[in-house]
Amino acid sequence: MTHDPLGRPPAVLMVPAVLAVLVLVVPLVALVAATDWSQMPAQLASEPLREALRLSVVTSTVAMLVCLVLGLPLAWLLARVDFRGRGLVRALVTVPLVLPPVVAGIALRDAFGRTGVIGEPLLELTGFAFPFTTWGVVLAHVFVSLPFVVIAIEGALRSADPVYDAAAATLGATRWTTFRRVTVPLAVPGILAGMVLGWARSLGEFGATITFNGNYPGTTQTMPTLIYVTRQADQGAAQALSLVMLALSLAVLLLLRDRWLGDRGLGGRGLAAA
């Protein structure tokens, strides 16, 4: 440890900090350690895994795009437009963040289920119903991920200096032009971070998804659901599947750090200050 001129960090802070790291790291190391590597090739080649993995990646990606299309405008509205009830809207947007996912699943069923407030007229008009379909999985993912995306992007928009929006206005830009050519480009690192956060939240989504959509291989069985049902029959297989998810999560984290949270994020700020 390098010499700190302010004195040594006190044990009363160091001990809990080290414990925190252990709490977070030990289970992951144990997961890797407990894996029976001889089983891995067979597990990776299994049809249910490949199907669930594909479904997870596809639904999380679609959900992330939906979150971007809906969430970016909402984040902009919350960050840049002073309207009555803004505080209330922000509070409402945050609710799904703290809601137990199972409860989210029940609520989705009440709204979009075959007899739901929106689900019933939708079914009558179009013959389409969300529950037990891949679109239902996407809907559940959007419901739980959107708050993360909105809050992350709103933070990014707020930290951007509003003087650029003002400059664009004096140059004759409409708010839409300013949004496209100034606000969004300057917030790109934060927007991408928000998207990755939303994607990761979707990828891990279990409670709302299984409550709203059940567990049908190929249509609604995502990786977390597959791991859950496999675990009841075959602990070793669940172990292997979990390792795949861990690898995927780490890959996302590394991508996030190197591409977006590293030099570019800080570089943008440096340029703005210069």
């Binding site: 200096d161 140059l171 409409t174 340029l271």
Partner: protein, 328 residues
Amino acid sequence: MSRDRTGLDVDLEVPGRVRAALVGHPGQVIALIGPNGAGKSSLVHALAGLVVAEGRAHLDGVDLLPRSAREREVGLVFQDRALFPHLSARDNVAFGPRSRGVARREARHRADGWLERMGLGDLADRRPGQLSGGQAQRVAIARALATEPRLLLLDEPMAGLDVTVAMALRIELARHLRDYDGVTVLVTHDALDALALADRVVVLDEGRVAQQGTPEDVAAHPRTPHVARLVGLNVLRDADGFTSFRPRDVTVSLRRPEGSARLTWSGPVSSAQQHGDAVRLLVGTEPALLADVTPQAANELGLAPGREVWLSVKATAVSRYGHDEEGG
């Protein structure tokens, strides 16, 4: 759209910040000077449409106040420049024309022309972060002019630049402003800017116009301590009007001098700084006054901060002017 070219005619109020009336003919440069918090930036932002104002602000016969910022033919050079950090110098300058409906190629072509005129032709591809302060300020000015505004607002364009860079930019700016046929409002802290660039000076103090006139008149007959300080004069205000005199006409002594009690003050030295060949003292009299002494005298009298001194000035060295006569 055919319209008159009557210039700027403003009488507006930003509630709680500033209330000011000013007039500017096409081609004129009006300097706004005053201490921090006097309302200079509020007034400029109100003209640009970035803060809400009441009253009247006619530009070439069109009332600006009902129009949003983007609908006004007003260019603003921000105090911290506010160049878009993610766009090249060229795209920064092209932003205005493009936003006003000019095709991309044409807008870029125009931007190159502006950068060329600013002497930045070879830096068009650089981003703001890769430009020096003086270069970035030139890009900011080009960006504002590229929309061909009828009113150009410059909010402390020399702020944050070092002295030689500011001097070069000042000379260049004077040249561009000579060619510009719209009205320019220049916010500045610097008397030199006002004297070198402006046709008229408007002095703001505590949200009101304290004085206006030609730069020469305002410099010779300052009516606020701030302006007096800027031009290096002392100014006193009494019931009859203003009395001003130069720091070098002030006599500094340790004992009460003989002569007119009216032109004698005492107080502690607040600061002592090299000023040309002399030492310029700021003395904490009421009001504070400047006095220039030779370095030898400063040594002999021990004029360090805190030293109690007497100041006096001969009646023949003061200039008196009244409340009523408006300068300009």
